[in-house]
Amino acid sequence: MSTLSLTSTVVRSTDQVSTDLGGEAVILGLQSGEYFSLEGVGLRIWELLETPHTAADLLAAILAAYEVEAVAAERDLLAVLGALVAEGLVEVQ
């Protein structure tokens, strides 16, 4: 498994299907058969990941939209992306 960094390009994997419930995305991992739910910042990241983005782009979007401290935001973003990749919902290109 590759290590995620700000230069990684990420996108939704094709091994999932998702729907927008408004304020919440429900995602079904097709390999695991498990459901996931994303809200708030996680939801925003998911929406952006419909098309490929670098983690740096995503960070910029978060910093623009939310009042968060940059270092913490970067750490949290990479953690969220790491989790999504681990669950097969996002892939690194």
Partner: protein, 333 residues
């Protein structure tokens, strides 16, 4: 909408109605951020449950499509998640209970074998005149594998002609996967045939037509009307357009609007459909109505005269013959 919030009983009634009409996801989406009518938690819960189920079926459809593709079987998913993505951009915005896929008659045996190998079994009453019913027990998913568009095509002679629809197929993207879909004009004719056959009793079907008209402003109307006329489906098309226009304000070119308004037959049928909605909102259409209503949608007088005899002949055949006898295409069809 007035500012008076709905009470608990109102919400229960609304959710029941929306569920019957299969428009709960659309309702929930429209009500988001709408102040006193913001979605009730019960509606949210219902939609989450229905949408999650929709995702499960979508995933299964993708699995089937992948295996058919690998085996060279061409398949067109229609209704269900493919239509949801085509019309609404989200697989769970249409409520659907099972999967419908069309394959070519000559590919049917291979398609069926693949499905059986993927964990499905034939259902007890598996064979209809146009599709074979399969069931995956662990996920409780029903798949209707079609070789024909509409049941009893010689009884309902207004479905778009299959061989012509295949080459016109388009591609939709279903969660990053490419899938075949009917071209919008063929999709519209199908929606009008299906809805009309069922007296337009589910609002979802009218929404689908309206949404198609809204998202496809550049339909070739001359070609569409000509196609409908050739297949004997002009009345059926006009009624579908009329109910979408009248009940939901769907956009239509002014020439078509005029045609619909001036056609007394269409106006009469539209009133019947509206009467059903406002007088008997939760009634499943009675069987005798479902038998006679489509009669009014058949263009050609000779087809109208033949309709009842053909229908009864079909029903007689299905009830008297061995239920395991199928009309499915076999190898070498």
């Amino acid at each position: 909408m007035s500012g008076t919030p709905l009470n608990e009983a109102d919400w229960d009634a609304l959710i029941e109605l929306a569920a019957f009409h299969r428009v709960a996801p659309l309702l929930q989406r429209s009500l988001r951020g709408a102040g006193p009518h913001a979605p009730h938690p019960k509606l949210e819960a219902y939609v989450r449950s229905a949408s999650s189920r929709g995702l499960l079926l979508t995933g299964e459809l993708l699995r089937l499509l992948k295996h058919w593709e690998a085996a060279g079987v061409q398949a067109i998913p229609f209704k269900g998640p493919a239509l949801a993505v085509q019309l609404y951009g989200d697989p769970a915005l249409r409520h659907f209970d099972d999967l419908d896929v069309l394959v070519r008659a000559q590919d049917f045996p291979a398609a069926k074998e693949i499905v059986l190998a993927l964990g499905f079994q034939p259902r007890e009453r598996h064979s209809l005149h146009e599709s074979f019913s399969l069931f995956r027990g662990d996920l409780e998913i029903v798949l209707e594998l079609h070789w024909e568009f509409m049941p009893m095509p010689e009884v309902f002679p207004f479905a778009p002609h299959l061989n012509e629809a295949w080459p016109r197929c388009e591609t939709v993207t279903l969660s990053g996967h490419k899938a075949r879909a009917f071209a919008p004009a063929d999709q519209l004719l199908y929606l009008c045939a299906h809805g009309g056959r069922h007296l337009w009793f589910r609002l979802q079907w009218i929404c689908d037509v309206a949404q198609l008209l809204y998202t496809q402003p550049n339909l070739d109307w001359d070609q569409l009307m000509a196609q409908a006329k050739t297949s004997g489906g002009e009345r059926m098309l006009l009624l579908g357009l009329s109910v979408a226009y009248d009940l939901l304000g769907a956009p239509l070119p002014s020439a078509i609007e005029t045609k619909i308004r001036k056609d007394r037959h269409t106006a009469k049928l539209t009133r019947q459909v509206k009467g059903y909605y406002f007088d008997a909102p939760l009634e499943i259409v009675k069987p005798w109505k479902e038998t006679f209503f489509p009669l009014q949608l058949i263009d050609r007088p000779t087809d109208r005269l033949a309709y009842l005899p053909r229908l009864w002949w079909h029903q007689l055949r299905s009830s008297t013959f061995d239920k395991s006898r199928t009309s499915e295409p076999t190898q070498g069809a």
